[in-house]
């Protein structure tokens, strides 16, 4: 299944934040989204999830298969979010409840969305913790978020995102808060999950190194518009847009 965003416009309080974004995600592919602070990367992800701030107006089309997410009734959209479309944020605290055990957070989603019984949900949760390579998955099931390191918490947030077998994963700066040594592991994990599960991934990152490591396609945003889209090698090595070139040139000491 693919996700196609066409001519997406978002207005908040009379201000046009997205001015006609076109993006296309394919299964088994990581689509990287770069661009400076405030260019609209996060808003694009939130629009797909139906999580735009109050008072925001969105027009255009966000097609998931046959359905347009922008016109889906709230109940239907709720099923899509956390089901077919899942998300991971910069700060794992955004996705994790501090007072609930890891197991509880994983199974709650599954019981709600997949209607699994307690035992099935538990088995699947432990399997997912193993998949994101949390050591001692059985024992980790009963622990709380604060008992894990930052990198492990982000892995748990990814496990929760994967709980209901999404087709599309929106990851907004998922490794920015992590140590580079830990980031390397999480990037390998994301790439592996994308390949193995055939996920369509939208990876928002300001880090062109991260982009280069795992994105197949790269889009660059500026002022609410996608100014360049293309295969990773093309965009990062022979950018056609002056703005992309300026992003690459601003990297310390890289000789192009």
């Amino acid at each position: 299944m693919t996700l196609d965003i066409t001519d997406l416009k978002v207005t908040i309080g009379g201000r046009e934040i997205l001015r006609g974004v076109d993006l296309s995600l394919q299964e088994g592919r990581v689509h990287g989204l770069a661009g400076e602070s405030g260019s609209g990367k996060t808003m694009t992800g939130l629009a797909v999830l139906g999580l735009l701030p109050h008072g925001a107006r969105a027009t255009g089309r966000i097609a998931l298969g046959e359905r347009d997410l922008l016109t889906l009734p709230p109940r239907e959209l709720n099923k899509v979010r956390g089901g077919e479309v899942a998300m991971v944020f910069q700060d794992p605290a955004t996705s994790l409840h501090p007072m609930l055990s890891v197991g509880r957070q994983l199974t709650e989603h599954m019981r709600h969305h997949l209607r699994l019984d307690r035992r099935e949900a538990r088995a699947r949760a432990v399997e997912l913790l193993g998949k994101v390579r949390i050591p001692g998955a059985e024992e980790a099931y009963g622990r709380f978020p604060h008992q894990f390191s930052g990198g492990m918490r982000q892995r748990i947030a990814i496990a929760i995102a994967l709980a209901c077998s999404p087709r599309v994963l929106i990851a907004d700066e998922p490794t920015t808060a992590l140590d580079v040594t830990v980031q390397a592991g999480v990037l390998r994990l994301l790439r592996g999950l994308c390949d193995e599960l055939g996920l369509a991934v939208l990876l928002v990152t300001h880090d062109l190194g991260v982009m280069s490591a795992i994105a197949d396609e790269v889009s660059v945003m500026k002022d609410g518009l996608v100014v360049e889209t293309g295969p990773r090698g093309k965009v990062l090595r022979e950018p056609s847009h002056a703005y992309t070139r300026s992003l690459l040139d601003s990297l310390p000491g890289e000789t192009a």
């Binding site: 990037l187 390998r188 300001h206 982009m211």
Partner: protein, 301 residues
């Protein structure tokens, strides 16, 4: 105006728990007008070291001197007197939510006995509009708040500025801007800057020298370009290999397996040996001498 840290040991003691030797013999110098970047994985002791420099954590062994005088834990008063100012990770926690930012910057000016400068001048220096002085912290974005925290720190005319992960809570795309701003402001005023971050590419952008910390010790220190182009300690090499390159080639960075060990029970010998691909017999029993590179592969001839 030099900050000198010599053989520093800082321990955390809490009842009923083993002593945590968070800084375990670290030496480091920051000269006026110089930017030193301190990097290392979370939990290696960076914050503990920074807080000790500000007199917020007592020194267990070794010494910290600033402008020749020892830094002692006399709390806030002493800290302002010694001319060391710290900028923390979370600007929201360090600003008073109930007071206008102009008034908070004015506190810093009073510390420096500066009756001339207008708080709005400082806002301008950190790239914010003058009229922000009349607003409260909650009216700003994370990046703007951190600029305000920097303005307030600068108002006290510090001769040494310490940033403890000052950019990690910011929106990713604002991080390099704020880091560069801190560098420029510190260097322009002739103050030294000790910049702590887990983001090596930002440190590379702003630091004159890089110090790499592992489990309470500085394992390598040198000029930024030298460390970056020719890392000598296996841990520094692993850190740099983990950074993905923006070359468009689709190469996944290398993982460094394992976590930073518990500082309450550090490994025998070289602290890095359980994760080191080059570990030799001597590494398991004898700790390498401190130096520009603390590793048995690089013993001074």
């Amino acid at each position: 105006m030099t900050l000198e840290i010599k053989d520093l040991v800082v321990e955390h003691r809490s009842p009923g728990r083993p002593v945590v030797r968070a800084v375990a013999g670290a030496s480091l110098t920051v000269r006026p007008g110089e930017v030193v970047g301190l990097v290392g994985e979370s939990g290696c002791g960076k914050s503990t070291l920074a807080r000790a420099v500000c007199g917020l954590n007592p020194v267990t062994e070794g010494s910290i001197t600033f402008e020749g005088a020892p830094v002692t834990p006399l709390g806030l008063r002493r800290r302002t007197l010694t001319g060391v100012q710290m900028v923390f990770q979370d600007p929201y926690a360090s600003l008073n939510p109930r007071r206008r930012v102009g008034d908070q910057i004015a506190d810093g000016l009073r510390t420096a006995r500066d009756g001339e400068t207008d708080p709005a001048d400082l806002l301008e220096r950190v790239g914010l509009p003058r009229e922000f002085a009349g607003r409260h912290p909650h009216e700003f974005s994370g990046g703007q708040r951190q600029r305000i925290a920097i303005a307030r720190a600068l108002a006290a005319r510090p001769r040494m500025l310490i940033g403890d992960e000052p950019i990690s809570a910011l929106d990713a795309s604002a991080q390099a801007q704020v880091a560069t701003l801190m560098r420029d402001l510190a260097v322009d005023s002739g103050a030294g800057l000790l910049f702590i971050s887990h983001d090596l590419s930002v440190v590379r952008l702003i630091a004159d020298r890089i110090a790499v910390m592992y489990l309470g010790r500085i394992v390598e220190i040198g000029d930024t370009a030298e460390v970056w182009d020719n890392p000598r300690h296996p841990y520094t090499q692993a850190l740099l290999r983990a950074i993905p390159q923006p070359d468009g080639m689709g190469v996944l960075p290398e993982e460094l397996p394992g976590d930073v060990p518990d500082p309450a029970a550090p490994p025998e010998g070289c602290r890095f040996h359980p994760r080191c691909p080059f570990a030799m017999d001597v590494c398991r029993v004898k700790e390498p001498e401190p130096g520009p590179v603390a590793c048995w592969l690089h013993e001074p001839a």
